[in-house]
């Protein structure tokens, strides 16, 4: 990875992480209070993020042709299958238990909230288990 790309990715990540902290999504209590209909802030966070991203995703390929430091704009892979829905259901059950999703689990490290490392370790273990099970299924074992 070139230095320019490294810098581009770090700065983008800094904006993302700073935004997660400003919006208090790094606090599990705030996420849980949304899921308990006590505070609808998460809707504003999601709405704000999507309103910027949808403009960029829809306009940049048309206006720029190619990314500033790359050769093509990636398209997010998307399929509608059982895994997408069942996985999302399992994800939601876990999200409602801990109030932590992958972004805040990572950004949480920067806020000194060390107990979030338990969630981070859990997510990493869960991701490993998912890959391990997929492997077993495809190899027919």
């Amino acid at each position: 990875m070139s230095f320019h790309k490294f810098l581009a990715v770090v700065v983008s990540g800094i904006l993302f992480g700073f935004g997660l902290a400003v919006s208090s999504m790094v606090s599990p209590e705030v996420v849980l209070s949304f899921l308990r209909f006590q505070d609808f802030g998460l809707m504003l966070v999601m709405g704000g993020a999507v309103s910027v991203t949808v403009l960029v995703y829809q306009l940049a390929p048309r206006l720029l042709g190619r990314p500033v430091l790359g050769d093509h704009f990636a398209v997010r892979p998307s399929v509608m299958d059982r895994d997408t829905v069942v996985g999302a259901a399992i994800f939601g059950i876990g999200w409602g238990l801990c109030g932590v999703c992958p972004g805040p689990a990572i950004a949480g490290l920067g806020t000194g909230n060390w107990s979030l490392m338990v969630a981070l370790a859990g997510i990493a273990a869960g991701a490993y288990a998912q890959g391990w099970l997929k492997d077993r299924k495809t190899s027919g074992a």
Partner: protein
Amino acid sequence: MLSLFPLGWEHYLTGGLLIGAGVGLLFILTGWVGGMSTVFTSTWSYVSRRPFFQQGRFVETRVWRLVFALGLVLGAAIWWIWMGPTGGLRTGVPVWQLGVGGLLVGFGARQSNGCTSGHGICGLSSLQWPSLMAVLTFMATGFVSANVVLLVGGR
């Protein structure tokens, strides 16, 4: 009167716009789509030889995904130093909920190929209806589990 935003609303909107700016800037500069759950699978490719983790979509993106994750930590750290509480944030959510919840979050997000940022921000912004289905599904099961856990003595 019942308030929709008892803690105020400005910081939610500002934070959301900043998150969108981060995901948008990444796309404009590199063309990459920055959902956050894939890094939890792609990073395993460094240590596991299993064919699942050695797929191109993980091996070829694992470096920038880790760098992006580093940026997230730095961004949150800037907030902490600039305007966060001395001694860091704390959570009252019990460790068992963080651990068990985290396991399900990691498994489910990877099975679904997306999380709150992958499906919620990147998927919806790509106008993909499977992502809309995923978002509605995890909002629904999240609502149920966050309320059920209160009934069984959780936080």
